[in-house]
Symmetry: C2
Subunit: 385 residues, 2 copies
């Protein structure tokens, strides 16, 4: 028996490792290489290419950098150290976008996939997986009777939830147009940010519910009965009232399936861009439901069709909402965001009415870097006793 | 107020959709295109390339197909319809591997990323997300005192688990060398297969626990405190006894945190390749724990170091295991698997000892196609009353 169990050798094991699953070979270059001084080298093997460039959010918007070829390997090193941050990038090979075949880390955002890398440190250390207690991340389906669909949620429960027998406050966190219930987890680093802020004692343990704000869809691309169909960008039910109308179902589902504190001051809602628009309208439509509201680079605008009751009687609804004294109404926007002016006008309106809010202004524009920053700023303000 | 909320227009909304997140543009070609007759066309834009090929498991192993260029767009259509299956593929552009920039669906397997597409139908309709009740998939961390690490599990709970108040049997499902706790969900389509088999009444509702079998690691690449480091293939603690020794911790954790039926005949363990090796050794090491055992293309071999007590006294342990009458000992292998001979010898040994087992032989070799087939065959055999 021992002989049989010993019949295979190191060679066999090595074969297993290579033949088993990795059908087309492993990465052969180190790319990106993050140097100790936080400069970064990108490499791409393409002996026959004429031009290889790299683009990404480590460069000023719209810029590309040229790689230089030596022996078929193209290379570019950033002249300066990069600030700690989660970065996305792609190569452009003879004018055609190419992923980095030596970096297995890719994130899909809307209909675009890019490679990513993380430089930890400063605020970005909140985006890293550190040796702290980790919450659970679940993909959960609920039945939306209003929308006539099974729909998927991402739900973060904090470390200890399963055995604590405690009840927890709930933070509803909404994505932007074209995003989905994965967006805040993947580019938003929500579970890492929550794990780290809670471990540092800077945030209360809370449940975070990440919905899919495209009310025509069951779930993120690749995760619904549409299968691996190409993602659709222009969706019919995004900012026309369906999502807001159906939102109480989500709250009911979460309150039924999780140990939640079922009251206004134990509920927050925030979202980025379209999700900020949704948060604005949901929080005023159901003024007794949310004690904390966050508008991150909010798409302050009306509906497309204009005929949903959600968008009617805005003045009266806001008046009622603020009369009920939400604990926090938080507005954040980047200085170069194309929605800056719309947000300024909305703040002016709140000022005129005397409705209190907190304002946070950042550098840069309508980008994930800012939404991660806003999340790290907003979460510590929630549910304080 | 209404004016302000109406200030942005369709144009603005369109800008949001494009500027918000998708920094580098959307796919511009349809690739792969699955035609109604299940032939498939692959397309790649590369006006300056000299040669573009496609490789993948829709072709005989080791083969590539040549794309033909017209106006800068390279194209290849399969001459025959493809059988329903989940397929992986990559392009080779002038000798360099390239992902398909027009297909946002990629799966990382070990250190290799490939694009995927699914042709539903026949058995592969079990791999699709159909309009049936969906279970919950969670990423859960537990503390391994034995290994001195926080470690991550993927856990599937069947539809209705949250509100049924019932207890459920548990199926521990293990990956191969270099895989991780995501592998069975992503290439294995476990949650889809379970959802569909349960909905069809072909499988009992059960909890499925997918561990990380690399005992030196916390979690899958990109999901641990190693961050976005390049994945490591040759890991120190894979087939030397650590994982098997620490396995009872996993069972204890699951039994503590989930509504499980805590007895042998309500527990199954199975795994592919290295996971089959683990299942063999775990089930004989703890003969009172698992009523159902599945060896999928199992790496029937001994440890590397050979000194773990897990691998000692195999004859006596097997004797004890079979004396306790497991409900099912299931062995599956493909005809061209490089482990076919080792499995044949192991079956011969079981035959000689008169230990009962069920044997399932498939076409093909050591590939995910087979492991999905084995899962669909094995799961309906579990926990029948």
């Amino acid at each position: 028996m021992r002989n049989i169990l010993l019949c295979a050798t190191f060679m066999l094991l090595s074969l297993v490792a290579h033949a088993q699953q990795a059908l087309w070979g492993s990465p052969s270059l180190l790319s990106p290489e993050i140097h100790p001084d936080n400069t970064v080298t990108f490499r791409y093997r393409a002996p026959k290419a004429v031009r290889v460039q790299v683009t990404g959010d480590f460069l000023p918007q719209g810029q590309v950098a040229e790689l230089i070829e030596v022996d078929g390997i193209w290379q570019y090193t950033t002249p300066q150290a990069l600030h700690p941050e989660l970065y996305s990038y792609s190569f452009i090979v003879d004018g055609v976008k190419a992923y980095d075949p030596n970096n297995v880390y890719l994130i899909r955002d809307v209909a675009t996939v890019t490679n990513v890398f993380l430089i930890s440190g400063d605020r970005a250390s909140l985006y890293a997986i550190n040796d702290v207690p980790h919450g659970t991340v679940s993909k959960v389906w609920y039945n939306s009777e209003t929308l006539g669909l099974q729909r998927r949620l991402s739900i973060y429960t904090p470390a200890g939830y399963e055995t604590s027998n405690k009840r927890y406050p709930v933070f509803y966190l909404l994505h932007g147009m074209g995003g989905d219930e994965n967006a805040w987890l993947e580019l938003g680093r929500t579970s890492q940010i929550l794990d780290n802020l809670i471990a540092q004692g800077k945030a209360e343990p809370m449940i975070v519910v990440m919905t899919n704000g495209n009310a025509a869809l069951e779930a993120a691309p690749g995760e619904s009965s549409l299968g691996f169909a190409p993602p659709t960008i222009n969706l019919p039910k995004t900012m026309e009232g369906s999502f807001e109308t159906a939102f109480p179902e989500v709250v009911s589902f979460v309150d039924k399936h999780y140990r939640t504190i079922r009251k206004k001051d134990a509920r927050a809602i925030a979202g980025l861009s379209m999700g900020g628009f949704h948060s604005l309208h949901i929080s005023k439509q159901y003024p007794d439901k949310f004690g904390y509201i966050g508008l991150f680079s909010a798409a302050i605008t009306s509906d497309r069709g204009g005929d949903s009751p959600i968008y009617k009687d805005t003045d009266a609804k806001l008046k009622k909402q603020f009369a009920m004294n939400p604990k926090l109404y938080w507005i954040a926007i980047g200085k170069t965001d194309f929605l800056y002016q719309a947000n300024t006008e909305y703040r002016k309106l709140l000022d005129e009415k005397g409705y209190p809010y907190t304002y946070y202004e950042s550098e840069d524009g309508h980008i994930w870097k800012n939404w991660r920053i806003y999340l790290t700023e907003f979460v510590p303000l929630l549910f304080k006793k």
